[in-house]
């Protein structure tokens, strides 16, 4: 039941997108998101759609798997859609039901906002699906390393991030296990009103928190036993080195942004 959450999950496959340097993928995702917000009008969206479609195809991640990640934001999506649809003032009124009116501008914004949100999620989940959590934090650490000069603890932040990411599947599994164990003792997580349901969660949450603390404690101990003492002077087993395909990928990104900007200016 909890296995359906794909946000932040890695999908193992052999593709050029998987092999790319994580720094490229991170900047690429940011570039794509920035591109999405620069778009004005449908030609830009067509360009973004083509770009995204090609990326999904070469990532070799099944399309169904990517779409599943959208389920979690479905409600947000719906709310945005409804609000934009009914509350945007415009010149021409298309439909009017009681006090709610749909204007041409409202329809236009609602559709484009929804598309933008969907692309946002797909774009960023494509990055996490093709990059292992370790690579991701490695990339982030290297990209943010200039901030060390102004005393931002970049290494510590990225270490915390990678631990947090690493623990998501573990805690999900643990939740599943404890849930089943309590269900075997007759617990009911699906019925009753809101207060009743919240109360029913106690037998799940208490053991979950205890196990999370226990795991954190064990991990801290194991790290200390291996003489971990922060990022000072720490070297890497697999340092990030750009290959030719990475420069090529940067080229494609620049091209994509150029197309988006050109479409914005010209049309």
């Amino acid at each position: 039941m909890i296995r359906d959450i794909t946000l932040g999950q890695y999908y193992p496959a052999e593709s050029i997108l998987h092999r790319l340097d994580p720094r490229v993928k991170l900047t690429g995702t940011v570039a794509f998101l920035v591109g999405l917000f620069l778009i004005k009008g449908w030609p830009g969206y067509v360009a973004a759609t083509i770009f995204l479609f090609i990326m999904i195809r070469i990532s070799k991640v099944p399309f169904r798997f990517i779409v599943r990640g959208l389920k979690t934001i479905f409600i947000i999506l719906l709310i945005t859609l409804v609000f934009n649809l009914f509350l945007t003032p415009g010149d021409r009124i298309l439909v009017q039901i009681w006090k709610l009116r749909i204007t041409d501008k409202g329809l236009y914004t609602a559709v484009f906002m929804a598309v933008r949100l969907i692309y946002l999620i797909i774009g960023s989940s494509l990055m996490t699906l093709t990059t292992t959590p370790n690579d991701l934090t490695d990339g982030l650490e290297t990209l943010l390393s200039p901030l060390k000069k102004i005393h931002v603890p970049v290494h510590e932040i990225s270490m915390m991030m990678s631990i947090a990411l690493r623990f998501i599947p573990i805690l999900l599994e643990e939740t599943d296990k404890i849930m089943k164990a309590q269900m075997a003792r007759g617990a009911d997580f699906e019925h009753g009103n809101l207060i009743q349901r919240a109360k029913n969660l106690v037998p799940l949450l208490v053991p979950l928190f205890i196990s999370a603390f226990r795991r954190a404690n064990d991990l801290a101990m194991a790290m200390e036993a291996r003489c971990y003492r922060g990022g000072e002077g720490r070297t890497k087993m697999k340092p990030l080195i750009y290959a030719r395909r990475d420069y090529f990928a940067y080229g494609i990104l620049v091209l994509f942004l150029a197309v988006i900007i050109a479409l914005r200016i010209l049309l």
């Binding site: 296995r3 999908y11 099944p62 296990k177 164990a181 075997a184 003792r185 007759g186 106690v202 037998p203």
Partner: protein, 287 residues
């Protein structure tokens, strides 16, 4: 009264890169009052199998009948099934959550709809059964030792008075003494109450001593199903799937190979002793 599994197949995360066939066409009948050992290597599907028996996991295909009723039939009361088929998970001490031992053990009976007094009565009985005296009742379950915590957790399921008790590796991580105590208590329960017990384990040694029937799982399939002595005859095959027969089996087979006329099917040390002495006696007569 029995549990019947027909062509049960279960697949984790179907149609993705994570697809795993945990169970493949499993057919079993678990009769009332049996003491069964379910053995298999890590990842052989034994834990998945037992979670099917009380409806926590729904088979991808196939049917399961509890006392003749299809548990996947629409409208079947799963909670009732779960109170009849008690399942003690691996490391059950991780499920404890209440402020004191007694309330934790009461959780199951209360979910069955029993009154506070009745639930407490059952909880006390269950605690006695696992060998925890009255002084523990008001303690926090988190202050107990590992072995005691596990007893509390097992009592939590016993208090529901199930007809079938399934224990998933109840002795994992316990010291030899704790292991023997818990297994002895389970065996006693089986004899006293006549409940069906399914003991999941990967230790043949543990199982050989107690059970009357062994089911061996390998890669989601039932490899062997029979009395311990029948199953251990295939000890070479068991080795090839990462399991082992009890030490006694090896000794008895070696003796047989060397021309010693003892029963090689002995599965416990007691049986081995008897048959070896018997063989000596026979030999003595011949001379």
């Amino acid at each position: 009264m029995s549990i019947v599994l027909e062509h049960v197949t279960y697949t984790y995360s179907p149609d993705t890169a994570y697809e795993i066939h945990a169970l493949k066409d499993v057919n079993l009948e678990i009769k009332d009052g049996q003491f069964i050992g379910l053995i298999g290597h890590t990842g052989s599907g034994k834990s998945t199998l037992v979670q099917h028996l009380n409806g926590l996991v729904k088979a991808t295909s196939g049917h399961i009948y509890f006392n003749g009723e299809d548990i996947y039939a629409p409208g079947y009361d799963m909670r009732k099934l779960r109170s009849k088929v008690g399942l003690v998970f691996q490391y059950p001490e991780h499920q404890l959550f209440e402020v004191d031992v007694l309330s934790d053990v009461c959780f199951g009976p209360k979910n069955q709809g029993l009154s506070q007094e009745e639930a407490q009565k059952r909880a006390r009985e269950a605690l006695r059964m696992v060998g925890l005296s009255e002084e523990y009742e008001k303690q926090s379950p988190f202050e107990l030792s590992g072995g005691q915590k596990r007893r509390v957790a097992i009592a939590g399921v016993l208090a529901m008075e199930p007809e079938v008790l399934i224990l998933d590796e109840p002795t994992a991580g316990l010291d030899p003494r704790g292991r023997d105590e818990i297994l002895d208590e389970i065996s006693y329960l089986h004899k006293e109450r006549g409940i069906t017990v399914i003991l999941v384990s990967h230790s043949m040694e543990d199982v050989a001593k107690y059970v009357e029937r062994i089911i061996v799982m390998n890669q989601g399939e039932v490899l062997h199903d029979g009395a311990p002595r029948e199953v251990f005859r295939h000890y070479k095959e068991l080795e090839s799937v990462g399991l082992a027969a009890p030490q006694v089996t090896y000794i008895m087979h070696t003796l047989k190979e060397r021309g010693f006329d003892a029963d090689e099917d002995a599965t416990t040390i007691e049986e081995a002793k008897e048959t070896i002495l018997e063989a000596f006696r026979k030999k003595g007569k011949k001379i």
